[in-house]
């Protein structure tokens, strides 16, 4: 039974009508009152920038915060391949229902139906809005928008701008945000990091932020606080996240009462550039869109020593095409990642470390693009060189920046030799638990985008993160926040010399001083690396009871050592990246423990959560719907002590089945 503390507030009625009806009946705030209501937005990625801009356009007073030097740098900028929308521009049978269905199935039946359906409903509006802002999506010669395919779907519904879709979408949202800054409706605080949330009479009423340039602590009031601070993949140290991506804002909210949903649901992305050495600071994604045209293979022979191009066709194992003929190279990410690990563990990996597989473009470069271009240009019987030349031009247009990036990092040219790729931590489906309004368990505190848990279940489909961030920011929160703020119109702005602000600021100050005054010998970075190692080895692509139990003990020990032997150079009241990092690592050291506890508690395999004890004979994930069809929502009590609440998931519109991509 769903815990009485968790009310998802899903509207009544048939799934296709819930959102429409709810929108028409939700409480509103009149324009005059909006001007007196202040909203804090933490984070300026797709969710934060779109929310801040849209709310300011409506008339609310918005304060937006980011730790980077400009809101345009938020890590949404690095998203590569595309954004999904149920436009059916390709006339291939796509629909809102199909996008909804693919997303729930892709998430291995661990997401909330009503939220996902709403996401699919507004997806088309997102594309319209972005195009209207001047986002330059890829177009065909007739001037219409182009689409490509992503994993876990059999239609083409992904809109894109070469391999830099996230950049173009974020710059669109950023320009909308800066427009409101210029109009005075948003006050922007860059190089500011939220270090705690202030709760007064049970409601979120503001934040304490550190000005990262001066090191000073500052207090900000808001009638509501929106956390749009992204995911926590950096708990693994090596991930595709930006160096600064962190869990701090969400974690502080969690410790002040917001339940944390499905913390163990982590996405390991199958196609990343493999680790090259101990100095490695981050991993780089090679977009899933490449699987439209790249074929994944390993040699059929163990310990193969020949170069990729010297291995003849019949000695290659296209293992995804072999195992999953219906979806082939476009199976969902969790499945593709596990399949790569399986081949490497079995001794078929390639490269120096043998921890890589090939992603090979030659076949489609020649046969798909080369031949199509040749026939478009009326070249009869083209020779191989011509096909390669023509194919390269198209591939360059579709993925040019990705190929360049690969070459920069590895020194190898993917137009000539296959890429070597391996799975890496990429995204976290888990996050703060939210209801249908996107409100956490703390009244007045919301979580949007990757920071919440709601739409992707146990595995996110490619090109759906951008969709969710913008859906939450442009189209959901502007409506749903009315349900709360309409009852706040009599609340006057609370002066920040209120005792609650003073008390929280004091706690933040003491913590910074504690970090600074340990005066030990080890850097924040070195602790982060060690935590990442534990997490990757024992709470990564494959998990088991023994490993998770050990990990919990090891993390507790590491945390003790951290608080005894940390060294933070520089001072508190100055620009000090070491202190910033120390605080973030301290929070990761707590989150890591909760992730392992959640993974241990979930005695089934589903989506990205693979417990070795629970698998089918063929190695596929074995779900346990009878006992685990729920969202884990963890309530923080004190250090190493949480209470589990369950939101039971009900599927009224989708037939539950074992995922089948064969």
């Amino acid at each position: 039974m769903t815990s009485s503390k968790l009310d998802a507030k899903v509207p009544q009625g048939p799934i296709g009508e819930k959102w429409t009806k709810y929108k028409s009946t939700i409480s509103l705030v009149n324009p005059a009152n909006k001007r007196n209501l202040e909203i804090i937005v933490v984070g300026t990625g797709l969710a934060g920038a779109s929310a801040a801009a849209s709310l300011a356009e409506m008339g609310y007073q918005v304060k937006a915060f980011c730790f980077q030097d400009s809101p345009r740098r938020a890590h949404s900028i690095a998203a590569q391949g595309g954004i999904n929308a149920a436009k059916n521009y390709q006339n291939d049978g796509d629909s809102v229902y199909r996008l909804f269905y693919d997303t729930v199935k892709g998430g291995d039946y661990r997401s909330r139906e009503a939220n996902v359906h709403r996401l699919a409903e507004v997806s088309a509006n997102i594309i319209d809005q972005c195009v209207a802002q001047g986002v330059p999506f890829a177009r065909d010669y007739g001037g219409m928008l182009k689409n490509r395919s992503f994993g876990g779907t059999q239609v083409k519904r992904t809109f894109y701008a070469a391999g830099q879709t996230g950049q173009q979408l974020l710059l669109g949202a950023y320009s909308a945000l800066e427009r409101q800054v210029g109009l005075g409706a948003v006050k922007m605080y860059s190089r500011h990091e939220m270090l705690d949330v202030v709760i007064i009479d049970g409601k979120a009423r503001g934040i304490i932020a550190r000005n990262l340039t001066t090191g000073k602590l500052e207090r900000y009031f808001g009638h509501a606080v929106l956390l749009c601070s992204g995911g926590y993949g950096n708990v693994f140290y090596l991930s595709t996240n930006a160096m600064g991506s962190n869990v701090t804002a969400a974690w502080k909210a969690h410790k002040r009462g917001a339940y944390f949903g499905n913390p163990c649901f982590t996405q390991i992305h199958p196609t990343c550039i493999p680790v090259s050495g101990d100095h490695q600071s981050k991993l780089t994604l090679m977009s899933e869109s490449l699987r439209n045209d790249g074929r994944i293979w390993v040699p059929k022979k163990k310990d193969e020593t020949r170069a990729a191009n010297d291995i003849p066709e019949e000695e290659r194992d296209y293992y995804l095409e072999r195992r999953y003929p219906a979806f082939g190279n476009l199976v969902p990410r969790d499945i593709a990642s596990r399949a790569a690990k399986e081949r490497c563990d079995a001794g078929y990996g390639v490269g120096l470390t043998k921890q890589a597989v090939y992603l090979d473009f030659r076949f489609n470069l020649i046969n798909k693009y080369g031949r199509a271009e040749a026939s478009r240009l009326n070249i009869e019987n083209p020779d191989l060189d011509t096909l390669v030349r023509l194919g390269k031009e198209v591939v360059k247009e579709e993925y040019g920046n990705l190929f360049d990036m690969y070459k920069q990092i590895t020194g190898e040219d993917p137009y000539e030799v296959p890429m070597k790729i391996y799975p890496a931590v990429h995204y976290t489906m888990g996050g703060l638990w939210v209801d249908y309004n996107l409100m956490t368990t703390v009244p007045g505190m919301y979580a949007l985008g990757e920071a919440n848990f709601s739409d992707h279940g146990a595995n996110r489909l490619g090109a759906s993160a951008l969709m969710q961030g913008l859906s939450d920011g442009y189209f959901v929160i502007p409506i749903t926040i009315g349900a709360y703020l309409s009852s706040e119109i009599r609340t006057k702005a609370i002066p920040t010399d209120h005792e609650a602000f003073v008390a929280v600021e004091k706690q933040v100050k003491e913590r910074l001083e504690t970090l600074k005054n340990i005066k030990g010998t080890q850097s924040p970075e070195s602790f982060h690396k060690r935590l990442g190692h534990i997490m990757w080895e024992k709470c990564g692509m494959a998990r088991n009871e023994k490993g998770l139990t050990e990990a919990i003990g090891e993390i507790r020990e590491l945390r003790k050592e951290f608080w005894k032997d940390l060294r933070v150079t520089g001072d508190i009241d100055e620009f000090n990246p070491e202190l910033d990092k120390a605080g973030r690592v301290a929070d990761f050291l707590e989150l890591g423990e909760l992730m392992c506890i959640d993974a241990l508690e979930r005695r089934e395999s589903c989506g990205g959560h693979f417990r070795e004890e629970y698998q089918e004979d063929g190695g596929e994930a074995k779900r346990d719907d009878e006992n685990f069809m729920f969202v884990s929502a963890w309530e923080y009590n004190k250090e190493s002590d949480w209470t589990l609440h369950k939101e039971v998931l009900e599927y009224e519109n989708i037939k539950i089945a074992q995922r089948n991509y064969k």
Binding site: S70, R73, I77, L171, E178, M188, M405, S523, E574
Partner: protein, 254 residues
């Protein structure tokens, strides 16, 4: 892939804060792998400095994939170093030789004051965008995306201009510290697209006015900006901005 590690000598700009005077300081990093990125070499150096209880070097960085625009090192007299079309974070040590001495400075421009060491304040760029680098369309007002066909050539040109990452290398490369390439990229993107048409003139005028107010220098068409731009934003955009600005100035109602 080479496995021969190198020794690299660095002369790095150290400056406590905006108000203080800076200087170049010497460092030596041993065991530098050619597969390391330039910033990873700084990570290694900083870890060593912390180990010796010395202050690490402050530098801006975030995505380390060449897209966020945060990293900003002036390496041997060139923004983002010796390669073309590459940001500092994507520069790898295989571009250097064992025993090399590398000079690393922050972006140098009056409009980009130094915050600390290699970190500068680029909020002037945000203010330029806030002055007009957008289409004034509120959320919810959009028509169906395909109701507005845009020819492929035009769309591609707009995309090429929109690829700017706002890092500021153009300003750092320019002897006048001009921000014309940055401003022209945004003005071009929106001038090329029908969505940008209604505000075309006011946009060019306001963005140029804000650029001047921020203290960026004038453009003398040397082309250093485009040559050093990690996203290879074309100089054609500056020509387009000049046309836009001139056209707008001439037709501006008095």
């Amino acid at each position: 892939m080479s496995n021969e590690n190198m020794t690299i000598h660095l002369k790095v700009w150290k400056q406590k804060n905006t108000g203080s005077k800076g200087h170049l300081e010497d460092y030596t990093v041993n065991n530098v792998s050619p597969d390391m990125s330039f910033l990873e070499m700084f990570d290694v150096l900083n870890e060593e400095l912390i180990h010796e209880n010395k202050e690490p070097i402050a530098f801006d960085h975030d995505c380390r994939e060449g897209i966020c625009g945060m990293c900003s090192m002036y390496i041997n007299g060139r923004p983002h170093g010796p390669l073309e079309g590459v940001t500092t974070c994507q520069l790898h040590m295989r571009s250097f030789k064992d025993g090399d001495t590398i000079v690393v400075e922050p972006w140098r421009a009056a409009a980009f004051p130094v915050i600390k060491d290699l970190v500068v304040d680029r909020t002037a760029f945000d203010r330029i965008i806030a002055s007009g680098g957008y289409v004034s369309i509120n959320t919810g007002n959009a028509q169906d995306a395909n109701n507005l066909p845009i020819g492929k050539e035009r769309a591609d040109l707009a995309f090429a201009a929109a690829a700017c990452i706002g890092c500021g290398a153009c300003v750092a490369a320019c002897k006048n510290a001009s921000a014309m390439l940055f401003v022209s990229a945004k003005v071009s993107q929106l001038a090329l697209l029908p969505q940008g048409e209604p505000e075309r003139q006011s946009r060019a005028l306001s963005m140029v006015a804000q650029m001047d107010a921020e203290g960026f220098g004038s453009c003398t068409n040397t082309g250093a900006c485009s040559a050093e731009c990690p996203k290879e934003i074309s100089l054609d955009n500056i020509a387009r901005l000049n046309r836009e600005f001139l056209g707008a100035s001439l037709s501006k109602p008095e």
